[in-house]
């Protein structure tokens, strides 16, 4: 065999039957690719072998073989390609070209992409469908969350408005504060009174006072929280009484979770103090 001379018929027959060595086969393959005459000869040898194969004693495969194939075919269903003009009639379709310009089919060749990724389109479509479904469900869930949060916001707004109204009423300097007590048998002068409402867990304190005596200039009343654990008193805000002797301390900054043993009020210099100055003029526990 030689790459320059034509391949002998004997070798073409052996080549067609895959009976040559790897090297010999490679040599013939290369030659045939570039030699139309040998390509023609090889095609004829293949045709001869096809005829010879048909001399075999014919046996039908089992019915299960057909069933097996069709099940496999069904499992590997194809995507349906976009309809395109194709002619598969008797006058067209498959032709062979042994002169090198053979035509497989009149139908246009599929692109590399469509051959290489035949399921890509469907995969993308399926992915988009799944993504769209997910987005729909996410949107639905977010809509529900939004509605719930909107309701909560309305409730909070209402609560805040109510709280603000309470705050405004308690701190309004024009508000009239009246404390009702058991009517005394004989009139007595009013005494200073204070009412502290304290929530240790939250550090929330509201203090309302009445009948407070006016202070000297540069002096201020200071409220104290006396811890139950024996720590030093904690300043809980300063206040000046109004013209009617009323005063309040609303939500002063206090640490949380401090159990209160008692509350007290002292008179301090303007600006307040970090330690109470005796005497304690008011106290309650």
């Amino acid at each position: 065999m030689s790459s320059t001379r034509h391949i002998e018929q004997e070798d073409l027959a052996l080549f067609a039957m895959q009976l040559l060595s790897r090297d010999e086969s490679a040599t013939i393959t290369t030659h045939v690719e570039h030699c139309a005459e040998c390509r023609q000869q090889l095609a004829e040898v293949q045709g001869d072998l096809a005829v010879y194969a048909h001399t075999v004693d014919i046996h039908s495969p089992s019915a299960q073989a057909r069933e097996r194939l069709m099940k496999q075919v069904a499992r590997e269903k194809k995507e349906l390609p976009i309809e395109r003009a194709s002619t598969t009639g008797a006058g067209s379709g498959y032709r062979t070209g042994l002169d090198g310009d053979r035509t497989i089919e009149d139908e246009p060749q599929r692109s590399f992409g469509s051959r290489s990724f035949p399921w890509a389109g469907w995969a993308v479509a399926a992915g988009l469908a799944v993504a769209a479904g997910n987005l729909y469900h996410e949107r639905d869930a977010m809509h529900g969350t939004l509605m719930r949060q909107s309701g909560q916001m309305d409730q909070l707004t209402a609560d805040a408005a109510s709280a603000q109204q309470v705050m405004d009423a308690m701190t309004d300097r024009t508000a009239k504060h009246v404390m009702l007590v058991k009517a005394p048998a004989t009139p007595t002068p009013p005494v200073p009174q204070g009412r502290a409402t304290y929530v240790p867990e939250k550090g929330t304190l509201i203090f309302l006072a009445s009948n407070m005596e006016p202070l000297q200039p540069n002096k201020v009343y200071e409220l104290w929280l006396i811890p139950a654990d024996g720590r030093n008193p904690i300043p809980a805000g300063t206040f000046h009484p109004d013209d009617h002797g009323n005063a309040s301390v609303i939500l002063p900054p206090l640490p949380r979770r401090i159990e209160a043993k008692a509350f007290g009020v002292t008179i301090e210099d303007e600006g307040g103090s970090q330690t109470p100055t005796l005497p304690i003029i008011m106290a309650g526990s």
Binding site: A13, E44, G47, P61, T96, R110
Partner: protein
């Protein structure tokens, strides 16, 4: 004879040619696939059975070959009406590969066949089979046996020469002569 070959009980053949069926297969038409199977499964299976001598292995080759059609019908560079011939040769090659326990050779699957007859037509196919058998039966025994050993047993010319004690050149000549006789019978 056709009754012996099982063709008498074969389902009615479609009038569609192989190219039309392949085009339908390409579009995912399972009925077209079934039609091709009904048309050519007997030949494909029989060739595989002759090589492998085992029905289960032959059915494996049958399945493999037809699934190849289903998966890549474009891979069939077929002369009009020669799909049957192509399938018969591919069945033989796949069976030899199975016999040798080697990977399928794509090289031969890409072969081009020169075939002037229309194997899609049942009567033409049967006529061709009968004629080919007649030609082979009349071959000298040495030629017939040598071709049989090469084609169905997958023996190389060296192996045949060793087994028969004939020179390598003689083995090659016998194979070529047998095929040439077969070709001339169909050209006449």
């Amino acid at each position: 004879m056709y009754r012996e070959m099982g063709l008498a009980n074969a389902p009615p053949q479609s009038s569609q040619d192989d190219a039309a069926l392949l085009a339908l297969v390409k579009r995912g038409n399972e009925h077209a696939m079934a039609s091709l199977f009904d048309r050519y499964s007997a030949v494909v299976y029989s060739v595989a059975l002759r090589v492998l001598r085992d029905p289960a292995s032959a059915e494996d080759v049958l399945q493999e070959v037809f699934m190849q059609i289903w998966r890549s019908p474009d891979g069939f560079i077929a002369t009009r009406g020669s799909l049957g011939g192509w399938l018969a040769v591919v069945s033989r090659n796949r069976s030899i590969d199975a016999l040798r326990r080697k990977k399928p050779t794509e090289q031969v699957d890409e072969m081009v066949l020169a075939a002037p007859y229309n194997l899609a037509n049942e009567s033409e196919r049967n006529s061709m089979m009968e004629k080919a058998r007649g030609v082979i039966d009349k071959l000298p025994v040495e030629q017939r046996k040598t071709l049989e050993m090469a084609f169905y047993d997958g023996l190389t010319h060296s192996e045949i020469a060793e087994m028969t004690g004939e020179p390598l050149g003689t083995v090659k000549t016998r194979i070529r002569s047998a095929l040439t006789t077969l070709r001339k019978a169909f050209q006449s």
